[in-house]
C-alpha cells in the first residue's frame, strides 16, 4: 500500500547509476504539502544536495517529476518537470516539457524518477512497469536524437514506448544542452541535458500498462467536459491551434519586446518581421498539426520544407522562441532557415534559447571587432547569416574549435575572450537572457527575479502583452495597471501571483496555456483546487492551494540562497538595459530606470516577506509556510 490511491501513481523511483541499483519510495511522503511534479522535485533537491556539489559531479541529482493530474484528462495535463543544479548558474535548474512521456511514466507506476551518481559506461534506463533495467548506450553515444529513439526502439523490439534523450550536445556537457522528450518537446534551459551527459545517461525509455484512477470519477468527468468546451472557444486557443505559439510573436514586437541583434534594439523592423511571421510558417510549410497528451487546445505543428537548400527538412515545432531567437536576436530573415535551425537544435540536443544567445554574443563581438576570423575558425559572424548559424550550432554541440568557447554560454565565453566582450553577454545570474525587457515592466520583473536565471516561465506576466483593460485588471488584481506596459506600479503584486500560479501548474502537471497565464478565462486556481480534490481526494481551499504554490516558490528561492548565495544585486537587469533606451518600434525610448526598479523590487520583496537587503526569505515567512528545515539552513548562511 503506497498511501495515495488516486491521481498519483504512488511511487518515486530512485536510481543510482554508480551502483546500477534502484529503489522506490512512497509519494505519500511528500503530499499534499509539496503537491507533486516540480514541488516534490524541488524539495528532494533541497534536502539532498549540498552547496559544495558542482553541477557535473556524480553527486548532483536530476529529478523528473510528473504531477497528480497527469495521466487523467484535465485539459493540458501532460507536463513533466525536470530539476537539478543549474549548469549555468550554480543555483536551481528547472525546466518543463509536454508530450506523452509524463503520462506513460504514471501508467508505469511512478510519479518521479530521481537520478543519482554516474554510470561507468554510457547507459540508458528502460522502465517497463515494475521492471527497471540499465542497458548499454555505447552504440547510441554520439547519435542525433531521432536516430537515438529509433535505435532504442529497435534494441527493445518495441515501437509504442516513450523516450527522452540527449543529443551530442548533452554528451559533450555543452552548457546550452537540452533534453529532447517524445521526439519533439524539450526541457530546454539550465543545461540539464549536459548534466544527464555528465552522468553517462543517454536516455530513459518507458512503457506503462497501468491505470490512474480519480477519487470522484463522475464529477471529475463532468468538470473536464465543461472546462474543455470553454477553453476550446477562447481566442488564444484558436490562434495557437492555427499557428502554434508563433501566433504570439506580433504581440511582443508591437510592444518593442523582441530582442534584435542582441539587444541593439528591442524591435524587429517591419519588413524583416513580415518574412518570418506566423502566417509565413503556416502558409508555406505547415503539413500537419498535433497536440500533447490530453490537450483539447493543440499548439503543435509539423512543417516540411520542400524546396531550396533545406528541402526535405521536417520540423516538429516552431515556437514563439524560434522567432525571437533566430529571427530577432540573430536577425535571420529566412523562415525556412529558422525551421532548419530549430530542427538542428532538436537533433543535436541544443536549447534554442541558450544556443542562439551565445551566438548572438559572438556576432556582437565580431561586429565590434573584438573577435576576428582568426579566432572564429575562419567564420565571418555576420548578422542574419544562417549558414554561419548552422555551422556554429554543430561546432557548439561537438565542442569543436570556436564552438568549444561558445559551449560555455555567453558569460563564461566572455570571461575567456575578455577585451570588453563582457559588455555583450546579456545574462541573468549566469544564464543567457532571451527576453526583451525594457518595454514591459512587469514582464521584466518576472524575468529578472526568476530563480533559474532569466526566464518568462517563473512569474513573468502576460497581462501587458495581452493588454488587459484597466477594469479587468482592477477586478483580477485590485490594481488598474496590469495591462499597461510602461507602468511600474502594482506589477510586483501581479508577478507574485503568477509565480505561485506557475509553481502550481508545474507541480500539478498542467500546461500554462490551459491555465490562466495568458487569459483570465483559462483554468483558474479555484478550478485547479477542485480538479485536485476530485482527482486525489485531498481537499483544500483555493487560498490554501495558492499558499502551497508560495511554499514551492520559496523552496526554489532557498535553493538559490543556500547554493549560490544570490542576493538583491542578482535581481537587477543587465546594466545596459538600464542605460540604453529602445531605439525603435512603438515603445521607442523605454528603458528600465534604476530608481523605479528599486521601488518595484522593494515592493516585490515586501509582498513575499523577504529581506529587502539580502532578498532572502525571512524566518517568519518560512515558519508560516511550514518550512522549518529551511530556517536551519538560513541560520547557517547568516553565520558565514
Amino acid at each position: 500500500m503506497t498511501g495515495v490511491r488516486y491521481g498519483y501513481a504512488g511511487k518515486i523511483l530512485w536510481v543510482d547509476l554508480t551502483t546500477s541499483t534502484v529503489s522506490t519510495e512512497p509519494t505519500s511522503n511528500y503530499v499534499p504539502k509539496f503537491l507533486g511534479g516540480k514541488g516534490i522535485n524541488q524539495w528532494i533537491l533541497f534536502k539532498e544536495l549540498r552547496p559544495w556539489v558542482t553541477p557535473f559531479e556524480p553527486a548532483n541529482i536530476v529529478c523528473f517529476g510528473v504531477g497528480p493530474l497527469v495521466g487523467t484528462i484535465v485539459p493540458g495535463a501532460a507536463r513533466m518537470n525536470v530539476d537539478s543544479k543549474n549548469a549555468l548558474t550554480g543555483g536551481i535548474g528547472s525546466g518543463s516539457c509536454g508530450g506523452w512521456f509524463a503520462a506513460e511514466l504514471k501508467f508505469a507506476g511512478y510519479d518521479h524518477i530521481v537520478i543519482q551518481g554516474r554510470a561507468r559506461e554510457p547507459v540508458y534506463l528502460w522502465i517497463e512497469d515494475d521492471k527497471v533495467s540499465f542497458r548499454s548506450a555505447t552504440e547510441l553515444w554520439g547519435r542525433r536524437t531521432s536516430e537515438t529513439v529509433k535505435m532504442i526502439k529497435e534494441d527493445l523490439g518495441q515501437d509504442e514506448i516513450e523516450v527522452l534523450c540527449i543529443g551530442p550536445a548533452g554528451e559533450n556537457m555543452v552548457r546550452p544542452a537540452c533534453i529532447v522528450v517524445s521526439g519533439s518537446r524539450v526541457v530546454g534551459r539550465c543545461g540539464i541535458g549536459a548534466i544527464m551527459g555528465s552522468k553517462n545517461l543517454k536516455a530513459i525509455a518507458v512503457k506503462g500498462s497501468g491505470a490512474i484512477g480519480v477519487q470522484r470519477p463522475e464529477e471529475f468527468m463532468e468538470m473536464v467536459h465543461e472546462v474543455s468546451l470553454r477553453l476550446r472557444g477562447l481566442e488564444g486557443a484558436k490562434g495557437r491551434r492555427e499557428f502554434g505559439t508563433t501566433a504570439a510573436s506580433p504581440l511582443y514586437n508591437e510592444l518593442s519586446a523582441l530582442s534584435y541583434k542582441n539587444y541593439q534594439d528591442d524591435y524587429i523592423p517591419k519588413a524583416s518581421f513580415r518574412k518570418i511571421s506566423h502566417e509565413v510558417f503556416h502558409r508555406m510549410y505547415e503539413v500537419d498539426r498535433y497536440s500533447c497528451m490530453a490537450c483539447p487546445t493543440p499548439c503543435g505543428h509539423v512543417y516540411l520544407i520542400d524546396e531550396g537548400p533545406f528541402s526535405g527538412t521536417r520540423c516538429l515545432k516552431a515556437e514563439a522562441n524560434s522567432v525571437w531567437n533566430f529571427g530577432g536576436k540573430l536577425a535571420i530573415e529566412n523562415a525556412a532557415a529558422i525551421l532548419k535551425a530549430q530542427e538542428e537544435c532538436c537533433q543535436l540536443g541544443l536549447d534554442i534559447d541558450n544556443a542562439s544567445s551565445v551566438i548572438a554574443w559572438a556576432m556582437s563581438c565580431f561586429q565590434d571587432g573584438i573577435l576576428s576570423k582568426e579566432e572564429t575558425d575562419g567564420l565571418e559572424l555576420n548578422w542574419g547569416d544562417y549558414r554561419v548559424l548552422l555551422e556554429l550550432l554543430n561546432r557548439i554541440a561537438h565542442r569543436q574549435g570556436f564552438g568549444n568557447v561558445l559551449a560555455e554560454g555567453s558569460l563564461r565565453a566572455s570571461q575567456v575572450v575578455e577585451r570588453g566582450s563582457e559588455r555583450y553577454a546579456f545574462h541573468m545570474k549566469g544564464q543567457d537572457l532571451i527576453e526583451a525587457i525594457r518595454s514591459m515592466k512587469g514582464w521584466a520583473l518576472g524575468v529578472v527575479v526568476s530563480a533559474r536565471g532569466g526566464t518568462h516561465t517563473r512569474g513573468a506576466l502576460a497581462t501587458e502583452s495581452r493588454r488587459y483593460p484597466p477594469e479587468i485588471s482592477q477586478k483580477l488584481f485590485d490594481i488598474k495597471t496590469a495591462g499597461d506596459a510602461r507602468a511600474y506600479e502594482g506589477k510586483a503584486k501581479v508577478v507574485c501571483y503568477f509565480e505561485y500560479i506557475h509553481s502550481l501548474l508545474d507541480s500539478l502537471g498542467v500546461c500554462f496555456f490551459t491555465g490562466n497565464w495568458t487569459t483570465p478565462e483559462g483554468i483558474t486556481p479555484e478550478e485547479l483546487t477542485r480538479f485536485y480534490h476530485l482527482a486525489t481526494g485531498f481537499r483544500m481551499s483555493a487560498d490554501e492551494l495558492m499558499k502551497t504554490g508560495e511554499r514551492i516558490h520559496n523552496v526554489e528561492k532557498m535553493f538559490n540562497v543556500y547554493h549560490a548565495r544570490f542576493t538583491r544585486e542578482d535581481d537587477y537587469p543587465p546594466k545596459r538595459l538600464m542605460e540604453e533606451p529602445i531605439r525603435s518600434g512603438p515603445l521607442k525610448g523605454e528603458l528600465l530606470k534604476h530608481e523605479d526598479w528599486d521601488k518595484m523590487l522593494d515592493e516585490y520583496y515586501t509582498l513575499h516577506g523577504w529581506d529587502l537587503h539580502t532578498s532572502w526569505p525571512k524566518k517568519e515567512k518560512l515558519d508560516d509556510l511550514d518550512l522549518n528545515e529551511c530556517i536551519g539552513r538560513l541560520n547557517q548562511m547568516r553565520e558565514k
Binding site: 484528462i73 501508467f107 491505470a211 480519480v214 503539413v287 497536440s291 490530453a294
Partner: protein, 90 residues
C-alpha cells in the same frame, strides 16, 4: 457504431483512448481501451490510424457504445470531431 469520420483532423491527444478506458474500468489508461490511436508526427508517409475493437478475439475490451453512459464518451470528448456515433438501422 463509432465511425472514424475524419482521421486527418486527429491531433493525437489520446483523450478518446483515455475516456474509453474510463468507461470500461473507471480509470484512465492506454491499455484497457477499445479504441487505439496511432498518429506519427515523425513520418510523412504514415497516416493516422484509429481502430476500434469490435471483435471478441481481440485483446482489448469490446466497444459496447458506452452502454449506461448516455452517449459514447469518445465522441463526446473528442476535441476535433474526428469520431461520429451512427445508430445502426436494421
Amino acid at each position: 457504431m463509432i465511425k472514424v469520420e475524419n482521421p486527418g483532423s486527429c491531433t493525437g491527444c489520446l483523450i478518446c483512448e483515455m475516456v474509453c478506458s474510463f468507461h470500461h474500468v473507471r480509470q484512465f489508461s492506454r491499455t484497457k481501451t477499445s479504441i487505439k490511436v496511432k498518429k506519427s508526427i515523425f513520418n510523412q508517409e504514415e497516416k493516422t490510424h484509429i481502430t476500434i475493437s469490435s471483435n471478441k478475439q481481440e485483446e482489448n475490451p469490446l466497444c459496447d457504445l458506452c452502454i449506461h453512459e448516455g452517449s459514447p464518451l469518445c465522441v463526446r470528448f473528442c476535441p476535433e470531431n474526428v469520431l461520429k456515433f451512427e445508430r445502426s438501422h436494421p
